[in-house]
Subunit: 396 residues, 2 copies
């Protein structure tokens, strides 16, 4: 089967799952307009509105020319024409509708609601539903995730060979970014939510790993400029430091997430121990996780191991500690489920998630590693298989 046929079949599966949910919730239609959700439902991005009734074919209301083929396309200039066009086509006008209220701006959403003559109480949250649907991957999506993982691994393998003594954290990051691009990184790195500014990932060295950031990632870092307070800050990499590389796995639209740690010479015993505890958390979760297990239980498994080892003061940061140890990965880097103590989510077959139990050791840096796992019927499959121990760059 060629790529286009496989994609077309897959789009039918995705739309059918959405329609089943709509029927279950008694919703008449869904309108999607943000890049990520349009891409998920169309396999391409256009400027317009993807309209899916609870039964029947999708309609593409297009505001700007496209140069690919699409069935059931209607050209419009403004959202007010959607209702007119539905009426003209003799189609039912939706009363209860799914809209992307968590991602559309207040103004755009308000205009869309008014243009469709809807009552606010008949708006259902499409952002949450689409994120939940997207969290369970199809075979087509999994083949894209595997392609991404392969390239992610290839790039990380080369890191020991591009490090040079005297580099700053930013120098090393620039070299990795260049390597990423030459290995097919698509550049764009999509994250979900209002406090998720980032550029191509995070590289944390030494005490910068302790700096809090306003953004909702696992760890912080001062950043190179006050306009992007996250990650590498331009300081020289020193002996006894760790270098935590958590750079974007954006080599296909469906991403992977992966962290590995390097050191410059020997680091403290505490840092080695914490890294080993991260490994114990991975192994324990891999041995216990399967479809049906609660994400909150996975979090608690990790915290038990952390507490038993007396490392809670360093877990997921020091001055600021993240309250999650993993998250779904897909078209956005932060998808459901989230592995938090209060999560109500359960693992399901074909969920892809990143597990990142990390520690920040003062004066040394961050340790611990991150893999992307696929939930199978039998347990977890690691998609990011690569040496997990800390690699000493002075021994390369």
């Amino acid at each position: 089967m060629d790529f286009n046929t496989a994609l077309s079949n897959d789009l039918n599966i995705r739309r059918k799952r959405l329609q089943e949910e709509m029927q279950r919730q008694g919703v008449d239609a869904c309108i999607l307009t943000t890049s990520v959700n349009v891409f998920y439902m169309v396999g391409a991005i256009y400027n317009g509105y993807f309209y899916l009734p609870s039964e029947g074919e999708a309609i593409h209301f297009i505001k700007r020319n496209i140069d690919f083929e699409l069935e059931h396309t209607i050209h419009i200039r403004k959202p007010e024409q959607i209702l007119e066009e539905l009426q003209k086509a003799g189609l039912k006008c939706p009363q209860k509708i799914l809209l992307e209220i968590d991602t559309l701006s207040f103004s755009d959403c308000d205009r869309l609601i008014a243009s469709l003559k809807l009552q606010k109480e008949n708006i259902v949250n499409a952002s949450v539903l689409l994120r939940r649907l997207r969290s369970v991957k199809t075979d087509f999506e999994l083949s894209q995730v595997r392609l991404c993982a392969k390239r992610h691994i290839e790039v990380y393998k080369q890191i020991p060979y591009i490090y040079k003594e005297g580099m700053t954290d930013l120098d090393l990051q620039f070299e990795i970014e260049f390597l990423m691009r030459k290995h097919g990184s698509l550049g764009i790195f999509r994250s979900y939510g209002a406090n998720m500014d980032i550029y191509m990932g995070s590289l944390l060295v030494g005490e910068n790993a302790e700096s809090p950031s306003p953004f909702d990632f696992a760890l912080g870092g001062k950043g190179g400029n006050s306009v992007l307070p996250l990650g590498a800050c331009g300081e020289k990499i020193k002996k006894g430091n760790t270098i935590m590389v958590d750079m974007a796995g954006n080599y296909s639209p469906w991403m992977t997430d992966m962290t590995r740690v390097f050191s410059v010479g020997k680091i403290s015993d505490l840092a080695y121990k914490a890294h080993a505890v991260s490994g114990e958390i991975h192994q324990t979760i891999v041995s216990q996780a399967k479809p049906g297990i609660a994400c909150a239980d996975l979090y608690n498994i990790a915290m038990d191991i952390v507490n038993r080892n007396g490392l809670d003061a360093y877990f997921m940061g020091t001055r600021q500690q993240a309250k999650f140890i993993g998250h779904g990965v897909g078209l956005e880097i932060n998808e459901p489920p989230v592995l938090t103590p209060r999560s109500k989510e359960l693992l399901e077959t074909n969920i892809v998630f990143a597990l990142e139990p990390k520690f920040v050791i003062p004066e040394v840096g961050a340790v611990g590693y991150e893999n992307t796992y696929l939930v199978t019927d039998n347990g977890l499959e690691n998609l990011t298989v690569l040496e997990e121990n800390i690699i000493d760059l002075n021994n390369q």
Copy 2:
């Protein structure tokens, strides 16, 4: 004066201008929470709410730890605490308020409105006001713009030396990105609006310049993957092609925008002519523009020159033609004013804007250039002074 004192004085100027507008509009307070506007008002980014009453001092409602000093800080967990804290402090509860309704999500904005016990009719659009205030730069901001322009120019100067025969458009773009980072590019490249996905700028070669894109930039391009349909597409650069480089000027929080064109060998007469017409548009606008002139008039000046030269079929694209020739630049790459036929905006002293009259010539590529200009009391100052003719890479 050191940087911190200069910044602190400048923040007072920016807040005072906002308060004057609030008083003029009879608004009691303004709440800002998106990164760009918080940065503009605070000089740093935090996770929380910047609260400015129409008179008196700003209050910072902070949700996540910060590691810099700020006066009048109140720690909160959720927006519902803002009103409680105002009451506790004996401050006036706002009735009429500025909120970022064009950028905040519907859900977040709706929650904020409810938490402040506000009526929808008492919400005023902070997104539009802040964008208008930000369009007129202070001296502090201008020094940042100049710093950015300097680095932008230095990178572009080196482009002829990194081109190699046989490269694809993406190969060349990766080299330019690497050069940009080594010259201080901050990576993050902020744009405003729902259809503005981009990564570090646009590089267009040959016929790819004709491809429409769903995103609202001046020109399109297929992109390297359907998840980012914009810009370079991975095709080999051929003899007779132009290479239009419009890469991000993100070397300081306040950006510059700049386009230059390179060719591989000679290109068609039509392409040289169109590039010269772009130059004529620049010169004519530079000779006529000054504070008080209407942006729509500048657009019309350009269109007259285009039509007189019979080049309207190629102007700002072929299969898709953008209806603007320039835009403000600042913390976001697309700020007001926009130079369109229907603009109601006038140029003002200290507006910084990019002028980009471009043509797409079938089988050749894009031509025309872009400078960032500062509006002074006497006219325009070009901030991006660098050779404007097409540079033949085969003659280097």
